[in-house]
C-alpha cells in the first residue's frame, strides 16, 4: 500500500502503518489522522509526540498498559488513564496513535 502526501508517495504495510520511520513528518501524520477519522487537537499531538520519544528511547512501540502508565508519569495522572487515551483514540490508543505517529504496530498488539 502507499500513502500520498504533498505529491510524494510513501510506502505503508497492508494495515496502513508507515514502512520507513524516517519518512514521518507532521504532514504525513495529518493525512494518517484523516484516514483514522481523528480530528487532531493539542492533546492528540501530545500523545503522538510522547510515542515518538518513547520509540526513540526504547526502539519499540509500547503496549497500551505501559503507555498509560508512562503518560501518567510524564503528563500527569489525569492523562494517565485508558479512558482518557481511548477518548482521544477510540479504536485503540496503541493501534491508532502508533499509526499516526509513524511507528510500527506495538509488539503483542493483535
Amino acid at each position: 500500500m502507499a500513502l500520498e502526501v504533498n505529491g510524494k508517495t510513501y510506502e505503508t504495510d497492508e494495515e496502513g502503518y508507515l514502512i520507513n520511520l524516517g519518512d514521518w513528518d507532521e504532514d504525513i501524520a495529518k493525512v494518517l489522522a484523516v484516514e483514522e477519522k481523528i480530528d487532531m487537537t493539542e492533546n492528540h499531538w501530545e500523545v503522538i509526540n510522547f510515542l515518538r520519544e518513547y520509540y526513540n528511547d526504547f526502539q519499540i512501540a509500547p503496549a497500551v498498559r505501559v503507555l498509560t502508565k508512562a503518560i501518567g508519569k510524564k503528563l500527569g495522572p489525569e492523562k494517565g488513564s485508558s479512558k482518557y487515551l481511548y477518548e482521544l483514540f477510540p479504536y485503540g490508543p496503541a493501534k491508532q496513535a502508533c499509526k499516526i505517529a509513524g511507528l510500527p504496530k506495538p509488539t503483542g498488539c493483535i
Binding site: 528511547d57 526504547f58 526502539q59 519499540i60 509500547p62 503496549a63 498498559r65 505501559v66 502508565k69 508512562a70 509488539t107 503483542g108
Partner: protein
C-alpha cells in the same frame, strides 16, 4: 505440566506462574535474542511472575554501546531498558559467563543481579516454566 497447554493451566485466571526466559545467544547473527525479547514483552500482558536470565554469549545482549549499522541490523538493545516499564525487573546474569568475557555489571545497559552457577541452578529449579532462547 499439562501437555496440551504447555504447562499453562486454563480456566484459572488468578493463577500466577513463575516463567523464566533463558537467553544464551549473542544478540545478532541469529534471531533468537530479538524473538526472545519480543516473547517476554508479550508475556508481560499476562501478569505472570517473569524473570530473564542471560548466560553464555547471551550476556552480550545487555552490553552497552552496540553499533549495528555495519551489519545492517536494527540495534534493539535500547529495548532492554523498556523492560522496567513492563514490570519485568528480575534480570539475572551468570557470573562465570560474565567473567569469561571480561564483563562486569558496569558494562551492561540495565541493572542486573549476578548469580553463581549454583545459585542460577537453584533459581531455575524453583520455576514453573523455563523457556530457552
Amino acid at each position: 505440566m499439562n501437555e496440551t497447554t504447555g504447562g499453562v493451566d486454563e480456566g484459572d485466571p488468578g493463577l500466577v506462574k513463575k516463567f523464566m526466559f533463558v537467553n544464551r545467544k549473542a544478540p545478532y547473527g541469529t534471531i533468537y535474542a530479538l524473538e526472545g525479547l519480543e516473547v517476554v514483552l508479550i508475556s508481560a500482558a499476562f501478569d505472570q511472575d517473569v524473570s530473564m536470565v542471560f548466560m553464555d554469549d547471551g550476556v552480550y545482549q545487555l552490553v552497552k554501546g552496540q553499533h549495528t549499522k555495519a551489519i545492517g541490523m536494527k540495534n534493539f538493545s535500547p529495548t532492554y531498558r523498556a523492560l522496567e516499564g513492563y514490570d519485568i525487573e528480575k534480570l539475572y546474569v551468570e557470573q562465570k559467563s560474565m567473567e569469561a568475557r571480561g564483563l562486569t555489571e558496569a558494562d551492561l545497559l540495565v541493572p542486573v543481579e549476578t548469580l553463581s552457577s549454583a545459585d542460577m541452578a537453584g533459581l531455575m529449579r524453583s520455576q514453573d516454566v523455563v523457556i530457552d532462547f
